[in-house]
Symmetry: C2
DNA sequence: TGACATTTCAAACATCTGTTTCAAACTGGT
DNA sequence: ACCAGTTTGAAACAGATGTTTGAAATGTCA
């Protein structure tokens, strides 16, 4: 499986870093932080055992770097507000949010590495999770909160609104976290582009339906159904 | 931390098995299969390093036994249809299902061991997962399918119904799987009895609202709102 | 009590892990 | 072509891990 000697060698030296990062991403996603060994990573990268320590200091730093890179890649490839007009209706923004998050964690285009490695990180957190939450997850949570603020009546209980956000995210991440179980329950299922679209559509409809009812119920006068509403420029941070 | 010598020793010899199982449950739940070491397990059980191999053969067999026992415990402590009258309305049955599953994976009463260890098993499956799916998860999936069959109009697309079931389960398991992240996003949050009740209520309302709309939409004539319906004796297996 | 099986124990074993070491190979600039 | 700095390589190190071993302790039953 290893590349024939003399090919990588000819390339620039710094290419070893890249090869290590790629191999590490594959190994970490496949076996987890503890399960992946630097030996396997180096072998797969066509490098020496000492390469990881030389280029990254230690295994954990390499892992941290892989994690950040994978998250950034996924965010860039599938931004939360993909191709949305700036004045998009809240419903459209929610649909885009759901779709992009689902793609980020499931898309085979990125070998589903991001989803797999994030699932592991959430179950068995390393120090890298703190940074991840701060840089990637928190902003996403804020974004969803803002979208829901526009979708739900202003009078709704903030805690209810928060729980709704968690319900939406839960539906999405479920597919990334429970993949092994889902595959055993329905072996013929896949997560290709088509199926992924279907999932995104379902989750969006399911959630919008729930929000409609809960919003309408929470405050009598509120408009929950999609209507022309006064334009609202994104979220304003309250000082 | 270890029990004073002479106490365990006086008890029957087979008590070592129990001590090992308990210690192993704690360690496996806390550190995962690979992270937990037989040395730590034995120390915590007040037993010798060789005890695991003597009583269970090897580490993996011990793990498998712990997993099965934990699942059985959780199912018994929080049965899916807790205290429901046999003719309970589908809405009640769904509420009970959600509540019990949430309790099973989150309740601190069982140290949340079941949820933690199951989350790990789903992310990093071992051979034990096959048995687990067959004996515990599949029956639960069937039960939820039957409940939804009663809640949704008969004319609804079966695939949509399936996705609804996944949406419901996803909302629940989310809290078990993403606990580390949730705690970082909202450090003061806990999962005590009160909070757990609130979660169960929210997920039930959120899901019922969605089912109502989706059910009403799916087939024009169907009754989705809770009404008197012809009594239906549980699910019948189609030959 | 005495013989037998069961259970415990300390020690050792074999393997695997991340990391270090230091010499060799390579790079770009002069 | 030469040299300083960088990168690679094979080997070894130190520690941890699951497992095995054989003797000692304990329990069971006649």
């Amino acid at each position: 499986m290893g590349a024939p000697p003399g090919i990588d060698s000819n390339a620039t030296q710094a290419a070893t870093r890249r090869a290590l990062l790629d191999a590490a991403a594959a190994e970490f996603a496949g076996r987890g932080f503890h399960g992946a060994t630097v030996r396997d990573i180096c072998r797969q990268a066509g490098a020496n055992v000492a390469a990881v320590n030389y280029h990254f200091g230690d295994k954990e730093s390499l892992y941290s770097e892989v994690l950040a890179e994978l998250s950034a890649q996924a965010q860039k490839r599938f931004p939360a507000e993909a191709g949305l007009p700036p004045d998009a209706a809240p419903r459209q923004r929610l649909a885009a949010f759901i779709r992009s998050l689902l793609q980020r964690v499931l898309s085979e285009e990125l070998s589903a590495r991001h989803g797999r490695i994030m699932a592991r990180e959430m179950v068995e957190p390393t120090d890298a999770l703190n940074r991840l939450v701060r840089e990637f997850i928190q902003p996403q949570a804020d974004l969803l909160r803002d979208i829901l603020r526009d979708l739900l009546p202003a009078s709704i209980d903030p805690e209810t609104s928060r729980l709704c956000a968690l319900s939406i995210v839960g539906q999405i991440l479920f597919y990334a976290h429970c993949r092994p179980v889902l595959q055993r329950l329905k072996p013929e299922g896949s997560f290709d582009r088509l199926e992924l679209d279907r999932l995104a559509r379902h989750i969006t409809e399911f959630s919008l339906a729930a929000l409609e009812v809960l919003g309408g119920r929470g405050s009598p006068g509120a408009v929950a159904a999609p209507r022309k509403r006064p334009v609202r420029t994104r979220s304003r941070s309250r000082s």
